[in-house]
Amino acid sequence: MESLYAITTGVLTACGLYLVLRSRTFPVVVGLTLLSYAVNLFLFSMGGLTTDGAALINGAKEYADPLPQALVLTAIVIGFAMTAFVVILAMRARSEAGNDHVDGRKHEAGEGRR
């Protein structure tokens, strides 16, 4: 379970990082979304992974750390708002600059191939 969890988080982070480094705003936005998913998963695991533990501490001996759950909730809300904002911003940038390059540049040589 731990290794599956770690691999999932790692793959999400790697994909997110790759997409953030692209030169068009749409992949960048998708990359940021993936990164925030990865971060949420990571935060969720930061108190250690507990299987079959009680979610509420009611005298239970084995319980899941409740703090990361609260933090993930906060992080999800903030990440959601930020993503909504950056989508609108990317659309504004597209309409102002006439293209969706992150620097607002026109087509560069060799870019048409992709």
């Binding site: 953030v20 971060v39 935060l43 940038a93 600059a97 607002g104």
Partner: protein
């Protein structure tokens, strides 16, 4: 009332911001009155907080009466009180300046402005690492909207860079907070400091990774060398009052570095103590060099001021890099000076640009200024202060800082800092002579509104005032540095429930 004083710098802007959102358009007079009134109220709260913290007692406010280390706390010590007061002083100048007409170029300026203040104050006051993240997000979200206030291609494009970079930074912040929580099992900074002193050896690597990732995040906010590329364009494109308020944003990063590494990774942390210092010292020198070159190369007055902000970041970081209480005291004095003066220069650049017609703030030949005499006088005062020439406050700040460097650090810091000062003088005198003397045609600019004059005079007037009050101010900053150097007092106040909890 006095028990709730600590939370007021957060709650007051929050409530006022919500009130101001009721009406998007119209009622300009009322909105301005509320915005300025709330900022004035914040100034009074700031003064009260400083008066309370000056005695050296650390007090805290437990939100919802959840006692630390379990609940979220707002901590008031000398440093946080000073920063809140500084924010209020800067904000008052900026908001009055904005009332001259900048606030009506888009919608909801005053509401967003108040929320920005809420985020900044919260970041200064909080004693909890995750709460610090939340307040960073509050101030960033408000700053995104403020940066785009009024629209225009330049702003949107620089906004894209700024937003994407900061979102990536937020992810990194969360990861490092997660690592630190996983290793120590707490998020309260004071509690974390205690836990670190009895950290099992196998967790040391995790904590070092988390701590250095935090340094990257704070470095992004403070605009340290490899992470500063967003700053000049964003600051130069932002509306003037917003750029002036942004002058405190880089200092939020500096504050966070100072707070986290002095409190959590202080002397008590054993082998983990001061793990940031080597990095910060060399990066600060690099920042100074690169920012100086940028200031010399800038072809626009606003870009020049943005690079001067970067120079000040390098200078402040050098103080953290030296790390002795004397250096921290000097850097705090310099921080007050540079925040107010660079903020004032951003406002002044807008006024100069408004009277030069098409040329704007670009450093090219343009039409003569209608009120050139007064503008030149203010520019002269601001330039002397920001370049660090006597008799104004920049010289005192730099002299204090240079006096604290010893041995090898002196060999590196003195030439770089003095040369960057010289370069700033060259860049500013070239800019000034182009703006005020090389002109063609006739002056047909409008007379500038009185509120703009007040905003600039309020901020640049701080430079002579800081010299006049240098004695009491350095007493205060020295006491602050002493308090930072001995974080046990703060830890004890927080964890033994001796504080003033409602």
């Amino acid at each position: 009332m006095s028990t709730h004083l600590i939370v007021l710098p957060v709650v007051l802007p929050l409530v006022v911001g919500i009130l101001l959102l009721f009406q998007r358009q119209g009622n300009v007079r009322l909105k301005r009155l509320i915005g300025v009134g709330a900022t004035l109220g914040l100034l009074l709260v700031g003064i009260a907080l400083v008066a309370r913290a000056a005695g050296g007692e650390v007090t805290y406010y437990a939100l919802g009466d959840w006692q630390p280390p379990f609940g979220i706390v707002l901590v008031l010590d000398r440093l946080s009180a000073m920063m809140v007061l500084l924010t209020a002083i800067l904000a008052l100048g900026a908001v009055v300046f904005a009332c001259a007409g900048d606030d009506e170029r888009g919608s909801n300026f005053h509401g967003l402005f108040q929320w920005q203040l809420m985020g900044i104050n919260g970041a200064f006051l909080t004693g909890d690492l995750f709460n610090l993240f939340v307040f960073f997000e509050v101030l960033l979200l408000a700053s995104y909207a403020l940066l785009l206030h009024g629209g225009g291609k330049e702003r949107i494009m620089s906004g894209v860079h700024y937003v994407v970079l900061n979102l990536a930074g937020s992810s990194l912040f969360l990861i490092s907070v997660g690592i630190l929580y996983g290793a120590t099992g707490t998020l309260n900074m004071a509690d974390m400091a205690v836990r670190l002193s009895e950290l099992p050896a196998e967790h040391e690597g995790l904590v070092v990774a988390g701590a250095l990732m935090l340094l990257v995040v704070f470095g992004l906010k403070a605009a340290i060398l490899p992470l500063y590329f967003w700053l000049p364009k964003a600051y130069a494109a932002a509306p003037a009052p917003v750029a002036a308020l942004f002058a405190i944003m880089t200092k939020v990063g500096i504050y966070a570095i100072l707070r986290v590494y002095s409190l959590v990774f202080g002397e008590a942390a054993g082998p983990l103590a001061d793990l940031e210092q080597g990095w910060v010292w060399w990066l600060s020198l690099g920042t100074l060099v690169v920012a100086t070159i940028g200031a010399l190369a800038a072809r626009d007055l606003r870009l020049l001021v943005a690079y001067l902000v970067l120079v000040s970041v390098g200078t402040l970081l050098a103080g953290i890099g030296i790390g002795t209480p004397a250096a921290v005291s000097a850097l705090l004095y310099y921080l007050i000076h540079t925040t107010l003066v660079t903020g004032g220069l951003f406002l002044l650049a807008e006024m100069i640009g408004a009277q030069r017609g098409k040329a704007g703030t670009r450093l090219v030949k343009g039409q003569p200024l209608r009120q050139g005499g007064w503008l030149a006088a203010l520019f002269f005062a601001g330039a002397i202060a920001v370049a660090g020439m006597p008799p104004l406050s920049g010289a005192i700040g730099k002299a204090l800082l240079m006096a604290t460097a010893e041995g090898a650090q002196r060999v590196w810091l003195w030439p770089i800092l003095l040369l960057s000062g010289l370069a700033a003088i060259i860049a500013l005198s070239r800019a000034g002579s182009t703006l005020f003397w090389r002109s063609t045609g006739s002056a047909d600019g409008q007379h500038l509104p009185r509120r703009q004059w007040f905003g600039v005079a309020w901020l640049i007037g701080a430079a002579p005032l800081l010299v006049a009050l240098a004695g009491p101010l350095t007493d205060y900053t020295e006491a602050t540095a002493e308090q930072l150097a001995r974080p046990e007092a703060l830890t004890r106040a927080l964890l033994n429930n001796e504080g003033d909890a409602p």
